[in-house]
Amino acid sequence: MSVNVTPTPRLTSRPDGTSGKNRKVKPPSSPAARRSRRKEALWGFAFIAPAVILFAVMGLYTVGYGFLLSFAQWNGFWPDWNWVGFDNYADLLWRSPVYSPIVHDAAWNTLWVMIAVPVLTVAIAFPLAVVLNSVKRLSGVLRSIYFLPYVTTGIAVYFAWQYILEPNGALNLLLKSVGLGSLSQPQGFLGNPDTALPTLIIVMVWSAVPVAMLLFLTGLQTMDSSLLEAAQLDGAGWWRTQFSVVWPLLRPITAVIVLLNLRDSLQGFQIFLIMTNGGPGNATNVLGLETYRLAFLNELAPTLGLASALGWILFVVALIVAFVNQRAMRRLG
């Protein structure tokens, strides 16, 4: 049996002999068609121009401006910057007897926050998600209730927390009314240097748990149920299933949650500014707040360059954290 095979014609035939595979055939172009295409391209550029300009101004320009500022001394008003090279970085990290001790203290506080907030958030959000995932009735209502802190988090909520935590606030009243008066704080939970930072950490965790819980819940609901059934058939109990099957499968999500909270802990300062302004004394000063203070609360002293340098130091730390997290995720993945 013979088969008549008709050779398939090449899609394009190029005079230089290169393959023209997957290339569209260009129609013959007339001057009118070229003008039309040019006009079309111009309109395209016109439409994306606002976004490009915004990115250039708000993104590239400000980043570049901030980077250059970190090598200068300036108070926001002088007509010229006073270039100081790497002095700002050196002063912040070790050299200045005024600024380096403040930065070191703030770094310790920041480190505590960076450790406590992600760990506590995961420790609370994961069990909460597991419980919510197994609830059959009112699960939608319960999810909404647990998600409420995220929806309401903001400046107003920080002020509300202040009222709860003050000497005559709801928390002290509650403790006294249930016979735990010895645990109440006569100066308020934010007025005692020993309780101020742990209290702020708890408020941060309260704000962070909803999103973490939602991410865990998403992971749980997309999990292949046959894995859990297989574990049960193998004789694993509920606890064993959670720790040996569910938890390892959710590690990538845990890594994301930890990274997000590390970033917030490292760079966030609003809660510290609003609720304590770094006090009492210097008990709750963190690096993010110190950057803000150097930039805007230093009575017009020329420390904007120092603030910018501290911001870049924080950026480098954040990069390192992200890199470590990425490596960890690769291993876990």
Partner: protein, 459 residues
């Protein structure tokens, strides 16, 4: 069909050009002096707005020039806005500024008109002699501007960047007159010891709301409003200045320093609970709402208290007193300019702006402003200030002293340039109200911190 897109494109380009040109012209124009008959003024004091608006009405009737007043609060928002406006040539015609602070910074940066050629003797004769030169760059300020890290870089000796609008001082204690009367006190305390006795008596009678409030969230307040005036009276001028030196035999770690801190520490049991977490406004509100019986502030506090419902007639005010056996037993508080008026370089109506500043400086206008704003004017109020500005403000004016032994809170010439009162205040707050450590610890920590500022300056 092809004609329509072309026309559309042309129209679009024309419209975009018009919008762009309008935006560019608006940006170049700035807000200052939009019209020769209109002026714009920014202030960081909300309590000054109604009084300034009332004065502006009178000014408009006399000159036909309208003055629009805008308050931008708090202070850091005001400074940020001024910095942003300066970079876009959007400054208003007139600014209310912190005297001998913002004015020199803005002036050194070229944002303000030098008024030294305009403000003559006839103008300054309206002011109290003690504050007539406030706003000028003295030799001391000029020398300060030459040191590395100075915020006054660019000023020249003899320049004047503001004229005073309000004067006063820190270190004024406000007490609830009715509550004091309940425990038998009708007169202010003459000494620190009497003050502590008064606090104790009220505290025992009213354990829940008998305390003293201070806004330690701005930690410099405990230092500058309470400890410093007390220590100045206790030790006298030179030993007080030496507390801020790097001499271990005379600074806060010395015998003098520890003695002053020991005296100051006697106030520890009487703080309103949670005062270490309060802002200045919150502390004032605590007093105004009856949650505290005493409040530490300045002459400027009265307006805020009244605005928040406190009856000024129920306020007993007195200067922080020195202890018994003090070097200056009858110490008074010297007034200094708290805020001033500056004309910006962006103004397109310099003459109108100067007229407005000159108008506000007139004694009759200043008295009206003082009564409305409940803030002391820089003008000479004569032998009976009560007649000029009312009983409470008048009593406060009369309590200010021009004596050479008076404590001058604005004199900071004895401190290193890098000195940061907020940081020093944080260290002091550790001692009281946080009650961590004894006077010797506090003295040592204060001395170490101030020593670091001297090291920074000499680096």
């Amino acid at each position: 069909m092809t004609g329509h897109p072309r026309r559309l494109a042309r129209r679009s380009v024309a419209l975009a050009s018009a919008v762009t040109m309008t935006a560019v012209l608006a940006a170049c124009g700035g807000t200052g002096g939009g019209s020769p008959d209109e002026l714009e003024m920014w202030t960081f004091k909300q309590s000054h707005v109604p009084a300034l608006e009332q004065a502006a009405e009178q000014f408009e009737q006399e000159t036909g020039i309208t003055v629009k007043i805008q308050a931008i609060t708090p202070d850091d928002a005001f400074l940020t806005k001024v910095a942003a406006a300066a970079r876009t040539n959007d400054l208003p015609d007139i600014l209310e500024v912190h005297s001998n602070g913002d004015d020199h910074t803005f002036g050194g940066a070229g944002l303000l008109e030098d008024l030294s050629g305009v403000v003559d003797e006839e103008w300054t004769d309206q002011y109290l002699p003690a504050v007539a030169d406030e706003g000028m760059v003295t030799q001391e300020y000029y020398e300060n501007s030459l040191t590395p890290g100075s915020k006054w870089l660019g000023v020249e000796e003899g320049q004047r960047f503001s004229v005073p609008l309000t004067i006063g001082t820190f270190g004024i204690v406000y007490a609830n007159r009715e509550r004091l009367a309940e425990v038998g006190y009708t007169e202010p305390p003459a000494t620190w010891d009497e003050f502590i006795e008064m606090l104790d008596a009220v505290g025992q009678a009213r354990p829940d709301d008998g305390g003293i409030a201070n806004g330690f969230r701005a930690p410099s307040t405990g230092l500058e409003w309470l400890l410093q005036p007390m220590a100045y009276g206790m030790l006298g001028d030179q030993p007080y200045r030496d507390l801020f030196s790097d001499d271990p035999a005379a600074n806060w770690g010395s015998e003098n320093g520890v003695a002053a801190l020991t005296e100051y520490g006697r106030i520890q049991p009487y703080w309103t609970p949670g005062t270490q977490s309060l802002s200045i406004d919150e502390a004032d509100l605590s007093f105004a709402h009856g949650e505290s019986t005493f409040d530490v502030g300045g002459t400027f506090t009265l307006a805020f208290l009244e605005a928040n419902g406190f009856d000024p007639d129920n306020a007993m005010t007195f200067a922080v007193p020195p202890p018994e056996g003090a070097a200056i037993p009858d110490m008074g508080l010297a007034p200094f300019a708290l805020t001033g008026l500056s004309v910006t370089k962006d103004t397109h109506n310099k003459e109108g702006a100067l007229d407005w500043v000159r108008f506000l400086s007139q004694t009759d206008v200043a008295q009206d402003f003082a009564r409305n704003a409940l803030d002391l004017p820089p003008n000479d109020l004569g032998p009976n200030p009560e007649d000029a500005v009312g009983p409470v403000l008048g009593a406060m004016a009369a309590s200010l002293s021009s004596d050479e032994n008076a404590y001058h809170a604005a004199d900071t010439s004895y401190r290193p340039n890098a000195y940061d009162s907020a940081r020093v205040g944080e260290v002091l707050a550790d001692f009281t109200p946080l009650d961590r450590g004894d006077p010797a610890d506090a003295g040592r920590n204060l001395a170490n911190l101030i020593e670091s500022y001297w090291s920074e300056q000499n680096r």
